[in-house]
Symmetry: D2
Subunit: 345 residues, 4 copies
């Protein structure tokens, strides 16, 4: 049993981590921090965790995080970068669910996130935790940057095409739709039920922070800079991301077996399911699970490939992938704590 | 007052027509047909119409449709084409909310709709009822083909760019999202609340019947054949369509005033609202109204234009546009019966 | 045309007032106040009002409210009581959509609302604006207390039974369910979509502020103090209240024509619709309209009467009833501005 | 490992059984029947079960059910009663999730279910599978009648009060609210998303089939016939039942420790969680789990007790309770296959 702490346990990624870790066979949860709620039983705030999590929230200074084997940061952007170095120095392995260590170009990060980076040196060593790309580096990571929700769905969907060099990487289009939990458990007007239910909208069209993250990952896969138009949308549902991806086939390429390309790329992956040809995966088919389901189409036999990629934004898009990374880092079965059948209906 | 009949009053477009016509100052509703429900008071099936609609459903043969000035067909595809000729011969003006008269190429229609067309000669004279394109021809139409819901949102969004020749029309992309009422009031499993709520999916990626309709309209606007990838999605909400449209600017064109282009194109249009630059229209901002709201973006100043276009699929996407067409055909104010403030929240 | 101002235009009752007043034939909207948003165009905050409301928010001091014929307070509790006296003195008629003037017993009000009352003398003269009970007094009201949402649905449902003396008024039960807009347009965690969607809960079981209001109204109808258990619930929908009411028949009373009792009580009421015997009204059957629909049942022929009463909480439960009261106060047709067909589906 | 078959695997209780049994450590699923879908892979109909259930649907005759240790009937009412006798004779233990064996009074059953009972003799020996009442009899049951969803929530909520003799059992009131999955996976208009979303309604007020079932259970607990008013409602959510229960304290009883009464009654129960005094349990706090959470209130210190009881209708209200019963019958840990943390948000 390893000792694990969670910094910032009151948001959606935090409570989802607790849901998953509560059943993890190799993890002992030792501390869950919250400055604002210190002293409150975790299960008083989240009754779904009654009988499962008996801890109380503690302040970060009382948490004894330096005695943990691993610490998850389920905090807003800009927190982990200030606290990780000290923990790493103490031998604690850090998994950040926020964006602090995702972008290798610190200047680019600072532009998109609007703050100075507190530990650029850790950015350099941090491993981007998309297991389907970086599994080997993840094993030994001291600082793990857990991918964003949109970037997970979009990269997993585009990777086979980009790696195989089949499409024009100068003009990728990712039209992505997210459930409202993606906006976090923050008191805001625009995500109130009466504002967000029974309605649909795009947001962030001029530029969204996940754009540089996706671009970085796909550029690494392509071996050159990709061009990407990324349009996120808010969907009236709690969980789920559906990415609809468009790429134009390069002239002359052999696109006769896109299905096989996808199946081979993800053969052996526990959490990526390539659906049969012609499928339209629904977000509910992965609800509450760590799965990504993907279908690839070539409508009307034309030169535009359409990829459909669905995840649960709180699981494969956040807490589940973080646990998957923990499993890889500590040598557990990759699906330890993640052996969940999707909840449908 | 003109006399108006509705054929097929038990579906969503039918009941929405009744909601609008009940307050139309120039219309006397004389008959609402339903084979299955003949004899039942309309307001027994639709309690929202109590005190507003006092008619009972009648069979088509008892409806006296030939004595109407205008007849709406709110029927499944393939009904109006069999009954319109006789009505037209009797001097009745026909407005079909289904697809029977939308596609000018009868062979193409037969391919997509899987049946023989019963009156190709009426297809030739039918007017496609998108007022923002065909207002003049609509005035004198004897047979009016009311546009589909997706085609309305997509065409209104793309038209200014296509007409101005600014984008590569060989590779248009329309990623469209619809509320579930778009699937109709039919007893089916896949649109049950437990199937369709809190989930999101694409459908019809290999080919959807609205593809040829959109392609026809945009090709006419472009003066040449357009290429279109159209991906519809089912969204867990009752009403609303959000079309996210992608077009690539042709090299060298002047795209410095896309906002002005859109504003000029729709100046004077009562039901198309070009939102301020930078906007993200929500479907609820048009809920229950006949409006289409549009925003145009050029993310990161690149060569991809993104257009956001929202309508209420049952109003501007069906019954409302049909009433707008009626108004044009009979010389009413174009917003007669359509003077509705969107219901939000 | 009368001049009308709205104090507090940024909440749900405020924007709903604007939706209704925008089409009122006898009203000129002259000012909409908001301290926080002064200077902003109303339609920038509420795009649904584009082309309908051209005003900007102004501060209360710049609003010229004293020159209005009527002023609506769509403010939190405790605001109107401080500002009404001055307006009344200037000849302005005040309609408060909050609770400041609803409870005649000032001590009771202070207990439930947790503050001192700033103008008890206006409480004494204020008229409780339930038109189906107080229409005559409303005509000449200078200060009108617009009823709460739950109290409207519950009182209209219970009144015929209570007035007729048929049920044990010592043990009334009102089990009420509200859409989330009833909680207001406030940034709070518990009404975020991911918290409130796809879930159901009771709240306020130990005591809710609408309890004394309902008790007061029913006690006046009964001529003696009633006993009431009131349990409100939060329902995952935007609008609508469904009150399920339980009363036990007194021994020996003639309960053979409950349907007739209800129909006679509300004969001639424009906004109360007694449904046919055996009905189960849905909240959507009144969506966006000022209607209350009621059905009365006596399950299994036993001695418990069950009444089902539905309203749109933002219309008959707030802004619509306020406009209805305005109409009565100023001699307009009672349905001026309220001639809306419910939006269903 | 025991061999288990499922008859009727295409409805919501069927697929939920499969979700739970797929992870049950002691169960080998050997057959899932469906006349209509025989030959289809289960996971083609339910993609959430991909990689979890590899069986195809088979016809009942090809299923080899007689070789199973246990067979679940997830079928419409009236099926199990025809097939159970033969299986029981073959030594198979039968768990019926429908209503065929729930009502001991066969004449009463026939009245409510509108058909003749095919095996009254099995009704006599069947055990009603509410473990918190009948755990001992369940161990040896050959035919187990799995309780209905409403009856589970209502009985667990009322039992402590009824068993303790504290309330007037002549006038119990159960106001219950269910998610739409309770209506089953049947193609019907009234449960389509556009019909059932964003709306709320009561149904079955004159009489619902769960009324006699609840009355039977509570009468057994009381030792005499109880009187019950039961009003079910349809709530716009997928899963969950919230029962709000009202009982009047008998004069003179000691009701000073209702909280303790509930806690003692359910001490040691793995799946009944008595919430702290003052709580308002949400249905989402039990989503996807087999838990029932209960809170007991005495509003304003009066003589009406209000009990709030929530379950997931598909788990504790159907498939989960069936697996719990299987566990008891075969000596597994009672939470085998049911060790699920509720999914919230």
């Amino acid at each position: 049993m390893i000792k694990v702490g969670v910094v910032g346990g009151t948001g959606y990624t935090g409570v989802e981590l607790l849901r998953l870790l509560a059943r993890h066979p190799g993890v002992e949860l030792t501390a869950i921090t919250s400055r604002g709620e210190a002293g409150m039983a975790v299960s008083d705030m989240f009754p779904s965790l009654r009988r499962r999590v008996s801890l109380k929230f503690v302040t970060p200074q009382d948490a004894g995080l330096e005695k943990c084997d691993a610490v998850f940061f389920a905090t807003p952007n800009g927190i982990a970068m200030k606290q990780a170095a000290e923990l790493v120095a103490a031998g604690v392995r850090v998994i950040d669910l926020a964006a602090d260590f995702r972008i290798r170009d610190v200047a680019e990060w600072q532009k998109w996130y609007g703050m100075d980076h507190a530990s650029p040196e850790l950015v350099a060593e941090a491993v981007y935790g998309l297991p389907e790309v970086n599994r080997e580096q993840i094993r030994s990571a001291r600082v793990l940057a857990n991918p964003g929700c949109y970037p997970t769905a979009v990269q997993l969907g585009f990777l086979p095409l980009v790696e195989a060099g089949l499409i024009d990487i100068g003009h990728l289009i990712a039209d992505a739709k997210s459930g409202v939990s993606g906006a976090g458990r923050k008191a805001e007007v625009h995500t109130l039920l009466p504002e967000a239910a029974d309605s649909f909208k795009a947001y962030g069209v001029p530029g969204h922070r996940h754009l540089p993250e996706i671009r970085q990952g796909l550029s690494l896969a392509a071996g050159q800079q990709v061009g990407l138009t990324f349009v996120p949308h808010l969907t009236p549902m709690i969980r789920g991301i559906h990415a609809t991806l468009y790429g134009r086939l390069k002239p002359g390429v052999d696109a006769s077996d896109l299905q096989g390309l996808y199946e081979r790329r993800y053969a052996g992956e526990a959490f990526v399911d390539v659906m049969p040809a012609g499928s339209h995966p629904e977000t509910r088919s992965v609800r509450a699970s760590n799965l990504c389901r993907i279908a690839v189409h070539r409508p009307q036999g034309g030169d535009t490939v359409v990829v459909l990629s669905v995840i649960d934004n709180l699981v494969k898009g956040a807490a589940g992938q973080a646990v998957q990374n923990l499993n890889i880092m500590f040598g557990f079965d990759e699906d330890a704590g993640l052996d969940i059948v999707p909840v449908s209906p």
